[in-house]
């Protein structure tokens, strides 16, 4: 459906869809320091979260696959046993890091504290 439709799927909506999922953003952030293996990502996510119990392989796998299909990360399978797979940011993924950084920065400044609504209530 090429369509002539000029209505460009609202970038924000597309973004929402791309990062939908509880771990995608954190995975990207985790990979900014370099390639990581499946298990490392998993452990990393666990360390970062105090609330999450465990990330099931099914979920993590899905997130990674989605990120790969979004073109943010790249999967490198070393083949052979024992299995070794590394995930790394693509160029697109790297270009996305600053955005995540902005999000984190803002979040740290405004979400760390218990919502101090300056005039609310």
């Amino acid at each position: 459906m090429a369509k002539t439709s000029p209505a460009r799927t609202c970038p924000v909506a597309a973004f929402q869809k791309m990062i939908s999922g509880k771990y995608k953003l954190r995975i990207v952030w985790d990979l900014k320091d370099g390639p990581r293996r499946y298990g490392e990502i998993r452990s990393g996510l666990l360390r970062g979260a105090e609330g999450s119990a465990e990330i099931t392989p099914r979920v993590l796998s899905r997130e990674l696959k989605a990120l790969t299909m979004s073109g943010l990360i790249d999967r490198k399978d070393f083949g052979e046993v024992p299995p070794k797979v590394e995930y790394r940011l693509t160029r697109k993924g790297k270009s996305f890091v600053p955005v995540v950084a902005a999000i984190r920065e803002w979040g740290e400044r405004n979400l760390g504290e218990p919502v101090l609504t300056e005039a609310a209530e």
Copy 2:
């Protein structure tokens, strides 16, 4: 800082939670130009989306309430009939606009095109 704060609810996770919902980001973006009435927001969201059919009052209402409770927007009820309610960004909400801007900018640059996964790297 109450708590020992070793595991600070990951800002990214908090962010995700805050903007969870299909319209929150777009509502914030819409309000950056100034206060808007309920109906205006609704129409605005419809214009911006080519895919969304209609936003049900139930959903929009919920999003607005959530944003209000997050401290991003402020609800001003003019009372009296006919009902007139305006929503506007709080200081916190305004500080969030640049982040959304970054998201949009990145999205426009990278999500408008059909994912050209650069094989090379």
